[in-house]
């Protein structure tokens, strides 16, 4: 998912939980990679188990 430019890493957790809750209740999850687009925007790759 695209990482909003105005969201520091210190505020990622609640934002990510909200995104995960769209798929179910998160049980175990982590950011497993951070990739940069050609335009400098960052993409977060997550792996998660949701219920």
């Amino acid at each position: 998912m695209a990482w909003p430019l105005d969201l520091p890493a210190q505020r990622l957790r609640p934002w990510l939980i909200e995104r995960l809750q769209e798929h179910g209740q998160p049980l175990r999850w982590a950011i497993t990679a951070v990739e940069s687009d050609v335009d400098g925007c960052k993409q977060l790759l997550l792996e998660a188990v949701v219920q």
Binding site: P8, A9, Q10, R11, L12, R13, P14, L16, L27, R28, W29, A30, I31, T32, A33, V34, L44, L45, L46, E47, V49
Partner: protein
């Protein structure tokens, strides 16, 4: 000696860490961090060495889901004198292997004096399957998670205050991945599924739980890496789990009025120690959110979610090794500014 400096140490399960990615091989590092801090909160992947274990009153053994809730400030820890550890066996385990595990429980009662029991079986095989994520981290799923939770509820109702669960895991003794792991160059393919099992139980029951896989003994491997060797000492990986759970703290969701005794909450934690490429886990993000100092240790794994990747350079303290991390913790515990220990030391402007 100054007051204890409560520290959380994480070595995430199933990501192939050079230290802690095998059979409890982060235990020496945990002992060192416990000695430096005087109070360490860590999880079974760090402490469990199959037949090998280490007991240290300064170390609090907390399963990963409970540790995530602790880091988020939602749950606290309340140390206890002992837990009564119920044993939950997957009914899909073959009779002889099941008997081996019952004998491990008996051995821990007879030889270590632990309180273990009752022993119950699931009413359906758990049917564990193993998976690898695109990152290379191991994950897994259960065919019958409800059977796990039902058995956990029965154990708790029967008086267990903690639960050791043993599930039959699929095995392929000829696989390249297993050979790589045994020879010290691969990811622990079982670890991700183990975490899912214990997370489910802890989320549902809110009592200490940990998992040991049931597997057939492997043929001798002359190239066995010392870090994986603890898993080849016997017929089960259960004894470390029983020892760890026997003195694991209770998981509490409400602080007592005056936080009496030795209750621990995240706002008392002074530092969190984690491999430098594993900063994307929930507990680390929770620590960053709470502005708890994070020490990122050089400990290569399949992940590269580093301080640089997350824009945290200058926020996260770097340590070249666990020896270095222990030195940082000791300095902080003594009230020393770690910057004073490095050169060059810039003038104040």
């Amino acid at each position: 000696m100054p007051q204890p400096f409560p520290t959380v140490m994480l070595v995430p399960t199933g990501i192939g860490c050079a230290i802690g990615g095998y059979a409890g091989d982060a235990l020496p590092a945990a002992r060192l961090i416990a000695a430096a801090s005087g109070c360490l909160i860590t999880h079974p992947n760090v402490m469990n060495g199959a037949s090998l274990y280490w007991r240290d009153e300064r170390i609090h053994y907390v399963e990963g889901y409970g540790l995530d809730r602790f880091a988020a400030g939602e749950w606290g820890l309340s140390p206890v004198r002992r837990q009564r550890v119920g044993l939950l066996l997957d009914c899909g385990i073959e009779p002889e292997l099941k008997q081996r595990h019952r004998q491990v429980a008996d051995a821990c009662r007879a030889t270590l004096g632990l309180s273990i029991g009752p022993v119950l079986e699931t009413d359906q095989p758990l049917e564990v399957s193993l998976e690898l994520g695109s990152s290379g981290a191991s994950w897994g799923r259960l065919g019958h998670p409800d059977a796990l939770l039902r058995a956990g509820e029965r154990l708790r109702a029967a008086g267990a205050t903690a639960i050791a669960v043993v599930a039959r895991f699929p095995e392929d003794p000829e696989s390249d991945a297993l050979a790589a792991y045994r020879q010290g160059s691969g990811v622990d393919g079982l670890a991700g599924a183990e975490a899912v099992i214990s997370h489910l139980l802890v989320q549902h029951l809110r009592i200490p739980c940990a998992h040991a896989p049931a597997l057939s003994p492997l043929p001798l491997d002359p190239q066995l890496d010392p870090r994986a060797a603890a898993e080849e000492l016997g017929y089960s990986f259960l004894s470390c789990v029983l020892v760890g759970l026997s003195h694991a703290p209770d998981l509490i969701t409400t602080a007592s009025a005056a936080r009496v005794g030795s209750e621990l909450w995240m706002d008392q934690v002074e530092a969190l120690v984690v491999p430098e490429g594993a900063l994307g886990g929930e507990a680390v993000l929770a620590a960053l959110q709470r502005q708890t100092p994070v020490i990122a240790v050089h400990n290569p794994s399949v992940l590269s979610v580093s301080a640089k990747a997350l824009g945290l350079e200058g926020t996260v303290l770097s340590a070249a090794s666990y020896r270095d991390a222990a030195g940082l913790i000791l300095a902080l515990r003594e009230g020393l500014n770690p910057a004073a220990l490095q050169r060059p030391l810039e003038s104040l402007t």
